[in-house]
């Protein structure tokens, strides 16, 4: 998944270091446009609410990816949702019904085991968060276990790209032991990163017992750099983005709801994030972590992504002023 494919005429070194500063510029866009990127497929699905048959809808989407269907059989599937706060009046977390539906979908595809796992970034009390968010009730109903990644044992994974300069990052054992790791993210803006999608969602795989609350080492190493390093280290094989109700404005917590009615799925996180970003009215080539990922095995070019499923019209998300530069023209 994260094989490097240096395009002719451009070295990967051109993307290191300066990528973050370069990405949101016109020059950065030109650089990204010249990168060779592998073909990728992403599925977009219309979902009018969380009350519809989400299991059936997700199965329809996952079946667009025969490799994933095959991989799920007999697999230990780990679903990693985005669980941040318990203010149920705001669309902060991956909706519990969608998480439970994803678990059921993978069970129907023959998974041997489905586990839901998350390491919330700054809330210390995971028990309270899982309960108050509503996730505990839905998982209890379907008898799916929850693993608190913040208290998990961990391995310090060597960072192949090492954009952060940290050398290694601690990654939860539950995540590393998955046959199929699925990033089940929320479609939101983010007041430090611009947007938080399937790749930023991977921050929760770094245990708090190793790095604290918040996971400041990831910010100190550079948020954009940490997103790419973690993507390489954790190697999720599938991504689902809950955009049925997304968040715009001052995300990922204090923003406002967007009735997007969309689920985005795919096997390659950068491609999934790129499609989601375009639906949010952003240009993924201007998003630094995606620009870097495009030079390291990821696909963000629209011309290299086959979008299947339902046709979804973009709906520009409101952004903090400093992220207006990420907007698509």
């Amino acid at each position: 998944m994260s094989t490097r494919s240096d395009p002719p005429g451009l070295s990967r070194r051109a993307l290191l270091g300066g990528a973050v500063a370069l990405a949101a510029t016109a020059t950065g866009v030109l650089v990204v446009d010249r990168l060779w990127q592998p073909y990728a497929r992403v599925c977009t699905l219309r979902a009018d609410s969380y009350e519809i048959d989400l299991v059936d809808l997700l199965l329809r989407g996952i079946r667009e990816f025969p490799d994933t269907v095959a991989r799920a059989k007999g697999a230990r599937v780990v679903l990693k949702p985005n669980l941040v706060e318990y203010d149920q009046s705001r669309p902060i977390n991956t909706n519990p019904r969608l998480v439970a539906s994803a678990a059921e979908a993978f069970r129907q595809l023959g998974a041997a085991e489905v586990v839901v796992a998350e390491g919330p970034g700054h809330r210390r009390d995971t028990e309270l968060l899982v309960g108050e968010s509503g996730l505990q009730d839905v998982l209890h109903a379907i008898r799916a276990p929850f693993v608190d990644l913040n208290a998990d044992s961990f391995t310090r994974v060597a960072l192949s790209a090492n954009h952060t300069g940290l050398g290694t990052l601690p990654v939860a054992a539950t995540v590393l032991g998955a046959d199929l790791l699925v990033s089940v993210a929320k479609m939101k803006t983010h007041h430090w990163a611009g947007a938080t999608l399937s790749m930023k969602n991977l921050f929760g795989t770094v245990p708090g017992v190793a790095v604290g609350w918040p996971k400041n080492v990831l910010h100190w190493g550079g948020i954009e750099q940490s997103i790419v390093d973690l993507w390489h280290a954790v190697q999720p094989r599938f991504a689902i983005i809950d955009g049925i109700v997304g968040m715009e404005g001052d995300g990922p917590i204090r923003g406002t709801a967007v009735d997007m009615r969309t689920i985005v799925l795919g096997e390659q996180c950068p491609a999934v994030d790129a499609v989601a970003a375009r639906l949010m009215g952003l240009d993924p080539r201007r998003m630094p972590y995606l620009a870097v990922a495009a030079g390291e095995g990821g696909t963000i070019a629209a011309s290299r992504i086959e979008v299947v499923g339902d046709v979804i019209a973009p709906r520009p998300f409101a952004l903090l002023e400093k992220f207006e530069k990420l907007r698509a023209d």
């Binding site: 009390d125 108050e132 208290a151 998990d152 604290g212 609350w213 400041n216 080492v217």
Partner: protein, 268 residues
Amino acid sequence: MDVDVLLDARERALAFLREARNADGSWGYLARGPGASEPTLHAAAAGAGASVAWLGAADLGWGRLLVPAALARVPEAAALREAAVEHILGLAGEPVEPDPAVMGHDTTITAWPWIAGTAAWVEPTAYAVLSLRTVGRGDHPRALEGLRMLRDRQCADGGWNYGNPEVYGEALESEIVPTGWATLALPGGPEVDRALARLLDAAAHPSGLSLSLAILARVAHRAPIEALAALLVARQDADGGFGGRCERTALAACALGAAVEGTHVYAV
């Protein structure tokens, strides 16, 4: 609440911890899981036993900030406590360039980070200050710096969260767990009065961990614990543990003991 009920619950929690202990004397987050500093230190504080040998050899990470406080009643841990104090005095967070439009607090106070080379946050600072006060170094300039940081990071609702009381002009909510630790670290004053009131919210949004920290902090400041102890007992599992987690069970054991005795290891 009936004292016998509290003592029984405490004994059941300690029995869980005895069963959950590893052969090397440590505790993991889960019963017989890989040894980790946080559950091992809280288990020592609860009186379940302290493996000084394991604590001396292991990489305790940020848990080292808690060593002087958690092992205050372990005579054989004197050398460990001394070494931890030196570590605490030598560790500081990285200052961050102030940007009042973004952060509502003073980002130049270095205080204590979770990991060296990163910024200061509430819980590690609370651990460090609590430890320094425990060993009688509460008037050390670093301890005073930590207290200044905690006061600066208090949220508008009277508690503390991880360490950002206000971001982009919006006041953020506090959380019971860091509020509990910050309140334990502070000697008293109006900020503590506000925090003690905030801690009562643990009753409306209970968990084993939040109730334990609320009880510990209120007992430390001689505030009544109302119905918090009864709520904590009600959340105990049949096996005596709290959610199968050793650190939560150890803190619950501390809190249940505090509810009876009116004091505990973390009360300075």
